[in-house]
Each structure stands twice: as C-alpha cells, then as structure tokens.
Amino acid sequence: MNFNAPHIDYAALSPVLALTVGLCVVLLSGVFKPLKRAIPGLTLLTLATTAGLLIWRWDNPQDLVSGALRIDDLAISISLIAILTAGFAVLLSIREPATEEAGPGEYHALLLGSVLGMVLLAQAQNLVTFFVGLETLSIPLYILCATNLRREKSLESGLKYLIVGSLGSATLLYGMAFLYGGSGSTDFGGIAHGIAQKGVLGDPLVLVGIAMTAVGLAFKTSIAPFHQWTPDVYEGAPSPITGFMAVATKAAAFAVFIRFFDVALAPQVDDWQPALAVLAAISIVVGNVGALGQDSLKRLLGYSGVAQAGYILGGLVVASEAGVNAIVFYLAAYAFMNLAAFAVVVARERETAFGDHIDAVRGLGAERPQLAWPLTISMLGLAGLPATAGFIGKLYLIEALVEGDYTWLAVFIAVGTMISLAYYLRVVAAMWMRPGGEPAATPAIAGASPEADPIDPEAGRRLYLVGPALLAAAATIFFGVIPQP
C-alpha cells in the first residue's frame, strides 16, 4: 500500500493557512502577559493578512486539496465579508466585558476559529468539509455567546444555541447521509453526477435528503420556521459577537447554501425551488411581524435578520447567476448596515444603563449625532430606502426574482419591507423625534445588579466604536449611490 500525499497548492490555500497560524499565535499570546495588550492588534493583523491573500487570489478559481475546497469569486467575496465583520467585531470587543471574562487570547482565538470555519465553509465542496466547516464555525460561536459568564442571559443564549444548533447539525448530517446514499459520493460534483446518472432523480431518498440539508442550512441562515434561536441568541450574546454572528454566519451559510443547492442539487432544482420560495415567504412574514413592537434593539435586529434572510433566500430560489450576484451584494450591504447598527448598540450599552433597550437611543440625535447618523442610515438601509445599499440590494434581488419568474416572491419582499418600516423607523423616531411615550422608568438592568456591566460615559466618543459605525454607514451610502464602483 503506497501513500500519495495529495497535491496542495499552498498559494491558493494560503488564506486558510494564514488564519490557522494567526489563530495559534493569538492563542499563545494570551498566555504571556506582556503580549496580552497586543492581541486585538494581532487578530486584526491576521484578518488583514488573510483578506490580502484572498484578494490576491481574486479571479483565479481552482480546486484545492483533492477537491475539498474550491476558491473562487463567490468564496472570496463571502470570506471577505466574514473577515470584515470579524475585524469590526474585534474593534467592538475592545473593553468588552466578555473579552475579559474569557481571556483575550481565548476570545480572539475562538473568533478567528469561527472565521476559519466560515472561510472553509465558503470554499467547501464536499460534504465532509462542509460539515466540518459548519461545525468549526458554530462551536466557537456557542462558546462566544456564553462568554459573558456573569450574565445569565449570555449563558442561556449559549445553551440554547448549542442545543438547537446541534439539532440542526444532526438533521443536516442525516440529510447528507441520505444524499451520500443516493448518489454514492460526498463531493458536490459527484452528488450532482450521481443524482443525474443513477436514475434517482426525484427519488424520495434524495428528496428527503434535500429536505434535511435544507433544514440544516435554513437553521444556520435563520430562515423561519427554523429561526427561533435567532432573537434569543442575538439578545443574549455579547453585542460584538451578535454583530459578528448576525452577518458572518449568514454570509458563510448562504455561500455554502448556494454552492450546495446550485451545484450539488442542481438536477433537482424544480423540486426544491418552490419549497425554498415558500420558506422565504414565511421568513419574510414571520421576521417582519415578529420584530414589531420589540424593545430590545438586538432582538429587533434578530427578527429583522430573519426577514432579511428571507429576502436573500429569494436570490437562491431562482438559481441563476443574477440571483447569486444579488445575494453577494445583498450580504455585503447587509454586513455594512448591521455593523453600523451593532457598533451603535455596543456604544450605547456601555454608555447608558439601558442596555440594548430602545430607550438607550432615545434622543441620540441631539446627544450623539456621530452615533445617531450611522444608526439612522443603517435603519433606513435595512428598510430598503433609496440612496442606501439596502435599496440597491433589494433591487438586485427583485430583478433576479422577476427574471426567474418568481414575481410573487418579489411582491412579498415589497410587502415585507413595508411592514419592516414600522419597526426600523421606530428606532429612527426614538433617536430624532420627541418621545411618544415616557422612557422606561427603570433601566433594563438596574445599576446595582451584579450582572450590570460598568458604565463608560465616554463610550459614545471612543474612536474604536464611532469609527466603525461611521465607516459602515458611509459604506452603506456609498454602495447605495455607486453600486458598481
């Protein structure tokens, strides 16, 4: 028995390697006291290097390590979104209590681990890599959610995420097993080939396999009715992590969603298209109505994420190039809009005793315009108003949908957007307009409670919070005005 080491193109694999190395370095730096302060910097450096390497590989698609990965423009753009989000999360985590709780080395290593999972997931093209990547993405997040150990909510969110997430993973795994059984292969290409060749097109085994993988992926992307973890986990997790999770998880999961469904399951497109369209519609409705009347900003963003996932799923449903482009653009736009919002939420959490309650941003327009503007732009963008990237994103999606003969879903997006205004603008109103009602008499977390985090009255001026917020908001506007720079 002779052993043939697989060919490895280290240049193309370099982003993954860089991340891994960075992860180890960061983890080790946590052990040495003098290096502790440099950890955020090291993390950012790792991310920047990875991003640079990714950009270097732009427009140069190829398969890696015996077809386990495929680095192409989709993978790179999604990875970049994940890395960008992680970079923001690092900045927002500065002085975050959770960082201290977990130890900065561990915290950032876990973050990088999750990013690694995302990069792998975005490039995955066989079931094993897919599954491992997904778990590498998820498991650090389960931990990170719970890192604010003093707060019950944080632990609760971690546990909930773990339980439901593992249930989702198990379902996904079972579906993968069926697909493997049906097609006899674990490679995406092999699956497509197997389904088409073995005469199992439309076979119940394959179709149920598709259903189960769809459930697993829908879970990760917060598609209703598999969304229920989203609001709870978003609310409970430390805010920088929530921001990271909201954007990056969704992006990576959608990347593999696209790759898996549009490549491996392409032969069955007629079967899964209507099902996913219905799921998208349900998500749009559930997410949007669920967000109505929410007082917790993070929770509101959680529900909004459900709705947004519904919109994005629309781009997948049509299974066309236009749809994929629309998804990528929308995810990028979504990243900027959400990051701006979370940066402000983090700043206000530290600045006031209201936590992420909507009262925390009441009167922000007068008090802290540098925070109010980003949040406003973010909300308007999420609501899809013109001159923001959100509008253009919706434009792409709707165009793809109409082109793919899913106009009714486009109408759903329109109606959903209409409902969503009711809660997005509520936030805007709280910032700029005279309060409709009295602010809550007692802050969400009383100052004396042991769970309360220390208040930093200057948080609204800190560059590492305001900077990302402004940057993300500016990007939102920029891509709204010049969508194809």
Partner: protein, 669 residues
C-alpha cells in the same frame, strides 16, 4: 380710435380704478378714493359713448367688431383668446352699466362717507363695474364665464361687505354658491357648444349653429337649458332666486347697483346675446319665458306682504326681471332690453331713496315702523315717488312704455303667448299695488319718531348701531357701518345722482314711444336681425291699445293701494286674517328657502357629517388600523410562539422539518 379700442378703454378704467384704490388704501385719503372710483367709471362711460358714436357712424350690418389681446389658453384644439366683441347690444349694455354706475358711485361718495371700509368699498365697486363690463363685452363664452363669475364674486364681496355681521357673510355665501351653480351651467353649456361646434367664439358659434343644429334638436335645447341655469341663477329667477332678498344685507348702493340695476339683469343679456341658439330651441325659449312669468307673479305676490323695505324692493326687482326674461325669450328682444334700461333707472332710484330713509331710521328697515317721511325728507320723497310711478308703470313714465311693449309683443305673437299678455297685466296690477303700498306706508301720514326728529332737529336719528336682521348690537370697528353712518339726502353728490335718475325714470321712456321714435329698437335691430322673431312687430295701434290698458291697470293698482293703505288702513289686517293661509305662504316666500334647505343643504351637510364622523373613522381609518392590527396580531403571535422554551423551539424545528420532508415526499412520486 376703433370701436374695440374704445371698448378696451371702457374695460381699462374701472380695472385701473379698482387696483389703484386697493393698492393705495393707506396712502389715499377717503375722498380721493371715492373720487378716483367715480371718475374711473365716468371715464368708462365716456368711452362707451365714444364706442356708441363710432358704431353709429357705421352701416347697421357692419356694426360688430371682435378684437383680442392675447391667447389666453389655446392648445389641444381649444382656442381661447382674451377677446371682446363689440356690437350694438354690448354697447347698449355698456352705456347702461357705466351710466347707472357713475351715478351710484356718486351716490356712494356721499352715502358711504363715514364708513371705515370706504376704500375697500370703492375698490370692490370699481371691480364690479369692470367685471360687469367684461361680461357684456366678452367675445367668447369662456371670457363670458369669467366676467360672469367676477360679477358673482363682486356681488359676494359687497353683500358681505360688513363682514362682521354673520347675516351678511351668510348671505354672501348663499349668493356666491348659487351663482357658482349658475356658472357650472354656463360651463357645461360651453362644453357642449365646443363639443358640437368646436369653438367658443360668439361669432363663429352663432354663425355655425343654424347649419349644425336642427330646430329643437335636443343638443341645442340642452345647451339653451344649461345657459338658462346660468341666466336664472344670476338673474334670481325661480328656483335660484333665494339669494337675492338675502343679498340686501349689503350696503344700499350695492343693492341699487348690483342687485337691481345691472348684475341681476345679466341673465337677460345672456338670453339676448345667445338668441341665435334660442331661436333654434324654441322649447327652451318657452321654458325660459314661462319661468320668467312664474317668477314675475311669485315675486310680485311676495312683495305684497314684505315688511322689510329693501327686501320688498328686491322682490320687485325679481318680478321686473321676470318681465325682461319673458321679453327676450319670446322674441321681444329690444323691448326686453329697453325694459332692462328703464328698470335700471327707476329701480336704482328706488333703492337710493330707500337707502336714505333707512339711514334716517338708523338702520331700521321695517316699513311698519315708518311713516311721514314725505314731510321729513322732501327730496327723497319726490324722487321715490318718481321711481314708484315708473315702477308702477304710471302713464308716461319710462316703465309704462317699456313694460307695455313686452306685453304688446306677446299679444302680437299671439297664440299661446297671449297668456303672457294677460298674466303680465295681472302682474302689472300687483306691481302697482305693492309699489304704492310702500310709498303710502312710508311717505304720508303722521311722522314716526325718527321722521319727527329729523323734522324737529334737522339731524338724523341716532341709535345704537344694530343688525336689522337679528337685532344684534354691533361694534363700530371696521366691517360695520361706521358710527356716523346716517347720511340722509344731506350730501350733494347723492342729490345729483338721485336727481338724474329721477329724470331718467320719468322720461327715459320717451326714446321708444310706439310709432314715434323707436330709438332703442332701431339701434339694436342689427343684432337681432338673424332672428325670425325679430320681424314680428305689434302694430302701432295695437301698441297704443296695450298702453291704454296698461295705463288703466296701473291707475287701478294705485287706486287699490290708496284704498287699502290710506283710505281704509284697517283693511289689510282684515284681509290678512281672512286669507291667513295665503298670507303665511306669501310671508314665508312660498317656502323656497326651506325647500332648498331640505333638499340640498341638509343632505349635503348630512353626508359631510357622515363622511367625517363615521365613514372616515370606520372605513378609511379602519383600513389603516385594520392592517396595523393584522400585522400587530401576527407579531404578537410570533412572539407568543417565541416562548423562551428551547424545547419548543426544537419542536418547531422538527415540525418544520416534517412539513418540508412531507412536501418533498409528496412531490417525489
């Protein structure tokens, strides 16, 4: 200078006067405003005379000219120019309007002296004259409508001139809205004309109409009926007349000028102007004539019982316009226009006299409280008598000739039209009675306290100013007659105006004595030459026979009035008791106001209230809140399902999975 240039100048002066007074309301002293206003109208009158002379210098069938300043709105096939049309009819109207207006301005110069809204008054008044002139000079239907609406507005503004009186503003509103209904009639008529004939220009319309329409074709009948809606609304004919009595809330010169002499006769002018169409729609013409007749009788009957001096005269105006409408509708065009002219003189005069007396009564308008002004105010009494005689068609006065000419024409046309003659004479009897009822009540007899005061002190009576309609006390700031608003024949301009009009009332009839001169007929003939009806002329003998009957009826009426109100003053009360039902009906003006209120105003307001209180809240708002509730409810449901139990989340996940798998199983087959 061409005739049209004169006509443009006629329009220009009042407009300039109005603007100058309006803009200079702070800078100009009161007298200057009055002087400017009067002078502007005087100049307009002179220009009108210029146009007249110009026309008379031309061959009779060349006496029509059109001219336009600029394209007003001419696209998409509509061609609307800012154009005027000058012919004997319009010049005739111009002369009456400017002539009477000049005198009334003169009268107002004195009468309104102490009013604080003096500038406003003259500005409005000049604007009114401008509008009226625009109306009569307009060269197409659109501009006619503009003038039509402008006079309506001027009328509104002047009726509610004392705008702090709620009665005045209400009356103004009523007048305006009813007039807008009339405008709508005109507008629709214009649409129909345009649809059928493709133009709004008078000359083209009248030239094309006979070629396009068959006689009595329903289109042309519809056009004429719509025109009549406009005419009746303006001229206070049934059933659009209710605004006119209320319009007496305005200052007396306004009643005299707008609501007696000029504006209200615009309907007559309109029918005369569009006679070419009415000739094609004899049914519509007959309808007009019968409505005129009905108005004539109804108004006269109401005037018999009115106790409010000005309102009684207002009903008399309605009645007299009825004669004119009958005249121009049955084909007695010149006669109708002639009556329009004489009526302008004597009715304006009567109002002026009434104004003097009311001023002397310190705004009291109830004739039951008046008596003995014959001694107290000699000049006024004499002029009032002149006006009264003319109105009652006393032989030889102007009204005598003009009214009888219409009736003589009706009998000459014969057939069904004899009804107009017969009932017209009956109306004349009523006219004579109610006219002299007023005169006998007011002038002779023992002076009432106010008259006595005037005799004794030479000053008019002073009382707290109050609203004669409601008895409400008035403050003296702007918007009410000023504190010293009690000018009674004291001022020279007023005397001049009344004198001239009295002269006109008595002797204007002499221009058109049957078989003698017929000046008006001859002048207007070219205008009506195209109408076959214009060829009908009562013979001179028949005319004189009619005059004789008219004289007899007039004298009889005066006699009855003398009997009732002077010789046996207790009879009226007895009659009133005897015929109490009839009296109540008359006294309530045949319940027209109530009927309109019940049929139009109340339903409209009820609908409005329903819309406002019920529909808006239930349906329109309900649509919004309903949607809100649906989504909000959905939200609460989602949040209820989001129970916080992780196991129930897992359950939902499994349920969703089972559902999805079921779908795929079903779709596999």
């Amino acid at each position: 200078m061409s005739a049209t240039s004169w006509a443009w100048l006629v329009l220009l002066f009042p407009l300039l006067g109005s603007i100058a007074i309006a803009l200079g309301f702070k800078a100009l002293p009161a007298k200057a405003a009055g002087a400017i206003g009067t002078a502007a109208i005087g100049l307009a009158f002179l220009c009108g005379v210029g146009a007249l002379i110009h026309l008379l210098g031309e061959a009779p069938d060349a006496r029509h000219h059109a001219s336009s300043l600029w394209d007003y709105a001419s696209v998409a096939g509509l061609d609307i120019k800012l154009g005027i049309f000058v012919d004997p009819l319009s010049v005739f109207m111009v002369l009456i309007v400017t002539g009477v207006s000049t005198l009334i301005h003169l009268y107002s110069f004195g009468y309104m002296q102490s009013d604080e809204g003096y500038h406003r008054f003259f500005s409005y008044l000049n604007f009114f004259v401008f509008s009226m002139l625009l109306l009569v000079l307009a060269g197409n239907f659109v501009l006619l409508i503009v003038g039509w609406a402008f006079v309506g507005f001027a009328s509104y503004a002047l009726i509610s001139f004392w705008y702090r009186r709620q009665t005045a503003t209400k009356a103004g509103m009523k007048a305006f809205v009813i007039n807008v209904v009339g405008d709508i009639g005109l507008v629709l008529a214009a649409f129909l004309i345009f649809r059928e004939l493709g133009t709004f220009e008078y000359s083209e319309v009248f030239a094309k109409a006979p070629q396009v329409f068959h006689t009595n074709e329903w289109t042309v009948t519809a056009i004429c009926l719509l025109l009549l809606v406009g005419a009746f609304a303006k001229s206070a004919q049934l059933p659009f007349h209710t605004w006119l009595p209320d319009a007496m809330e305005g200052p007396t010169p306004v009643s005299s000028l707008i609501h007696a002499a000029t504006m209200v006769t615009a309907g007559v002018y309109l029918i005369a102007r569009t006679h070419s169409l009415f000739v094609l729609a004899p049914t519509a013409a007959d309808i007009a004539a019968f409505v005129g007749l009905a108005t004539l009788l109804v108004a006269a009957s109401i005037a018999l019982v009115m106790t409010d001096l000005k309102r009684a005269i207002a009903y008399s105006t309605m009645s007299q316009i009825g004669y004119m409408v009958v005249g121009v509708s049955i084909g007695a065009y010149s006669a109708g226009m002639f009556h329009l002219m004489t009526h302008a003189f004597f009715k304006a005069l009567l109002f002026m006299a009434a104004g003097s007396i009311i001023a002397a009564m310190a705004n009291e308008q109830n004739i039951d409280k008046m008596s003995g002004f014959g001694k107290a105010m000699r000049f006024t009494s004499v002029t009032m008598l002149c006006g009264g005689l003319a109105l009652a068609a006393f032989p030889g006065t102007s009204g005598f000739f003009s009214k009888d000419e219409i009736l003589a024409y009706a009998s000459a046309r014969g057939g069904m039209y004899l009804i107009f003659t017969v009932l017209g004479y009956f109306g004349a009897l009523l006219t004579a009675i109610y006219t002299f009822r007023l005169i006998f009540r007011v002038l002779p007899g023992k002076p009432c306290p106010e008259a006595q005061e005037l005799i004794d002190t030479g000053h008019v009576h002073h009382a707290h100013p109050f609203n004669p309609a409601t008895g409400e006390e008035e403050d003296t700031a702007v918007g009410f007659p000023g504190a010293e608003h009690h000018i009674a024949e004291s001022s020279l301009p007023m005397r001049i105006a009344m004198g001239v009009l009295a002269f006109g009332a008595l002797f204007a009839g002499l221009v058109q004595v049957p078989g003698v001169d017929d000046m008006v007929t001859k002048f207007l003939d070219p205008v009506f030459a195209d109408s076959p009806l214009a060829a009908i002329h009562p013979s001179v003998a028949a005319s004189w026979f009619g005059l004789a009957i008219g004289a007899a009826i007039s004298l009889a009426g005066i006699g009855i009035a003398y009997f009732l109100y002077v010789a046996r003053p207790e009879t009226p009360a007895a009659l009133q008791k005897r015929f109490s039902a009839l009296h109540t009906c008359l006294y309530n003006k045949w319940y027209f106001d109530e009927a309109i209120d019940f049929l139009v105003v109340r339903p409209a307001l009820a609908i409005g209230r329903f819309a406002n209180r019920t529909f808006e809240r239930l349906v329109v708002d309900g649509l919004v809140t309903g949607t809100e509730d649906v989504f909000g409810g959905g939200g609460r449901l989602v949040q209820l399902v989001q129970s916080g139990f992780v196991r129930s989340y897992a359950l939902l996940l499994i349920v969703g999975f089972a559902g999805l798998a079921l779908y795929f199983l079903l779709s596999s087959s």
